[in-house]
């Protein structure tokens, strides 16, 4: 996505209205539509976060209030103390997510290199693999995996869940990495080879720096997927101390303790679940979008 700093140029470039030909009225309309769109999209997020800072009485109130009349962090307090404590669950989620990133990177960097730069029949295999992985619902694979893991002691472990998440992300990650390796100009590689490097050195010195953006993208998507995934976590973890955040959030609805769903606490949980995702997006916007594009449009 190239960006042209000249606003006029940019306006012309797209197939939208050229302000020079029809100034004034239509650009106000466009502006209004944009703002309206932003409001519509952001409202659910904003009210959710606002709901999490209402006092418990207010968050249970019927009829509900749009904007908090009270301010209280008690919902977060209750979430913090819920069963094994929020720290445990968030810790587990983070642990699994980082392990997923580690596994994914460790596996797909050499694999991408191999598929892009070596004469393997990998292209066809990769395509078939991607397709199969895309159409088979992974939910049905969970129980066979659980039984396998049980035999090797990987249930209730962050590593086990990370392996599953890595497997789920594998097609997309492989695809991105391979494309990225492929895009590295041959001249660079040939120059390094001429300098007398072996494949490992070529990989590390030439390719790795070149594919860092793709790596970031892959890591990013792996994180988001792992952080949010819940059925696999539900199946693999049957000890409270191993639960991840999505599991606890889903659980907290039915764990009514006879008092009805704790909406405030639920929204606090939702806020905590979406916060890292939004933060990562804001910080790494460039990689996020480029990952989408290279993964999809190519």
């Amino acid at each position: 996505m190239t960006e042209r700093p000249d606003a006029l140029e940019a306006a012309r470039m797209a197939t939208g209205t050229s302000p020079r030909l029809r100034p004034g009225r239509s650009s106000y309309l466009v502006g209004a539509m944009c703002i309206l769109l932003c409001v519509i999209v952001l409202t659910p997020l904003v009210v959710s976060v606002l709901a999490s800072v209402k006092s418990p009485g207010e968050s249970a109130a019927v009829p509900p209030t749009y904007v908090p009349q009270t301010f209280s962090l008690e919902s977060y307090q209750r979430l913090w103390e819920f069963q094994s404590g929020l720290m445990t669950y968030v810790g587990n989620s983070l642990g699994v997510a980082f392990l997923t990133i580690a596994f994914t990177v460790a596996l797909t960097v050499p694999a991408g290199y191999a598929l892009a730069r070596f004469p393997l029949p990998g292209k066809e295999l990769l395509f078939v693999f991607l397709l199969l992985a895309l159409i088979i619902p992974y939910q049905a694979l969970l129980t066979p995996i659980f039984l396998i893991f049980a035999q090797i002691g990987l249930t209730n472990s962050l590593v086990g869940l990370a392996i599953i998440h890595t497997a789920i992300q594998m097609p997309f990650s492989l695809y991105i990495m391979r494309n990225s390796f492929e895009a590295v100009p041959r001249e660079l590689e040939e120059a390094a080879v001429v300098d007398g490097g072996n494949t490992w050195q070529v990989l590390v010195r030439i390719f790795l720096p070149a594919v860092v953006p793709a790596l970031v993208t892959v890591a990013l998507f792996a994180f988001v997927m792992s952080w949010n995934e819940f059925l696999g976590a539900l199946v693999m973890m049957n000890r409270d101390s191993s639960y991840t955040l999505p599991v606890i959030l889903a659980l907290s609805r039915t764990q009514t303790s006879l008092g009805g769903t704790d909406w405030g606490m639920l929204q606090a949980g939702v806020s905590i679940a979406i916060l890292p995702c939004i933060a990562i997006y804001l910080l790494l916007q460039r990689y996020y979008v480029s990952g989408f594009l290279s993964g999809a449009v190519k």
């Binding site: 996505m1 249970a60 191999a114 070596f118 895309l134 694979l141 979008v289």
Partner: protein
């Protein structure tokens, strides 16, 4: 420069970790699943080999076909909304002015949060007495009694879920469309304008054809994603009422977990995968034809 054979071997070694990983954690469980589909497997009793009985049962299973119908209905309804909606928003935000770039960024935000978190958020918003949707509708006088959005009426539930998913996913199509639109050389649009073409004429005659490939791609992703829908229904309706909002994958889940009919669930997965494969092949073929 290496000899071809040596090159192949080295390449294979680099591929090996990922290959082993996939074999161990994807291919093997898949094989296991295929094996299970030929059994009556409840986990609590020893598995019993029953050959293709599971598949036979699926053909006559009203609930399975019902779920498939519902999934298709959901897909057919949500896909146009996502494509058309995404495209329109892309048209609106494609130019690189600050406001439009900002809007683009905002519309993309729901895409980055998890589907589970999003579903919980909307589950709360659609709650009959504690949710803000009913509150807002009642405040503007559109409704008198609270609408029971989720779990009571299959169609209303479906639309509620569609609303939440469209909110979450629209930005995905939008971004891809914007990229495709921005790839169109500006001279084309300018030439058309000089020739007197109006805005919508430019859109239909220039933009649409030149972004067709992306449209078809986004459609393909949307369709596959919708056919495999699970999380949103699991959290928002749990298949209610009476499994009328149970998608195909949800039914697979029901069999593989609460019902403890793992063999049957495995068989259903395979059937479902075959159906989706068919869809995909048809769609890709249609795509190819549009270029011919």
């Amino acid at each position: 420069m290496y000899s071809s054979r040596r090159s192949k071997l080295i390449g294979f070694l680099y591929l090996a970790p990922a290959l082993l990983f996939v074999l161990a954690f994807t291919a093997y469980p898949f094989g296991q699943m295929v094996w299970m589909s030929l059994h009556d497997w409840s986990l609590l009793e020893p598995p019993r080999f029953i050959g293709v009985d599971n598949f036979d049962r699926a053909l006559n299973d009203r609930q399975f076909w019902g779920s498939l119908t519902f999934t298709l209905k959901y897909t057919l309804l949500i896909t146009p909304i996502l494509i058309v909606g995404g495209y329109l928003v892309a048209l609106l935000t494609a130019p690189n002015t600050p406001l439009r770039r900002f809007t683009r960024g905002v519309v993309f935000v729901p895409v980055v949060i998890g589907l589970g978190a999003s579903s919980l958020l909307w589950y709360w918003l659609f709650s009959p007495r504690n949710g803000l949707v009913n509150q807002a509708l009642s405040d503007i006088g559109a409704i008198e009694t609270p609408v029971l959005w989720l779990g009571v009426d299959a169609d209303i539930s479906m639309w509620a879920v569609i609303a939440s998913v469209v909110w979450k996913v629209l930005g995905f199509g939008m971004i891809l469309f914007v990229a495709a639109m921005q790839a169109i050389p500006s001279e084309v649009g300018e030439a058309a304008t000089v020739d007197g073409a109006g805005y919508w004429q430019r859109v239909t005659r220039i933009t649409l054809p030149l972004t067709l490939r992306t449209i078809l791609l986004v459609t393909l992703f949307s369709v596959i994603g919708s056919l495999l829908a699970f999380d949103q229904f699991f959290i928002m309706t749990a298949g209610q009422p009476h499994n009328a909002t149970a998608t195909s994958v949800f039914y697979v889940y029901l069999n593989s977990f609460p019902f403890l009919r793992l063999g049957y669930g495995a068989a259903l997965s395979l059937i479902l995968a075959a159906i989706i494969l068919l869809f995909t092949v048809v769609q890709v073929m249609l795509t190819r034809r549009s270029y011919a």
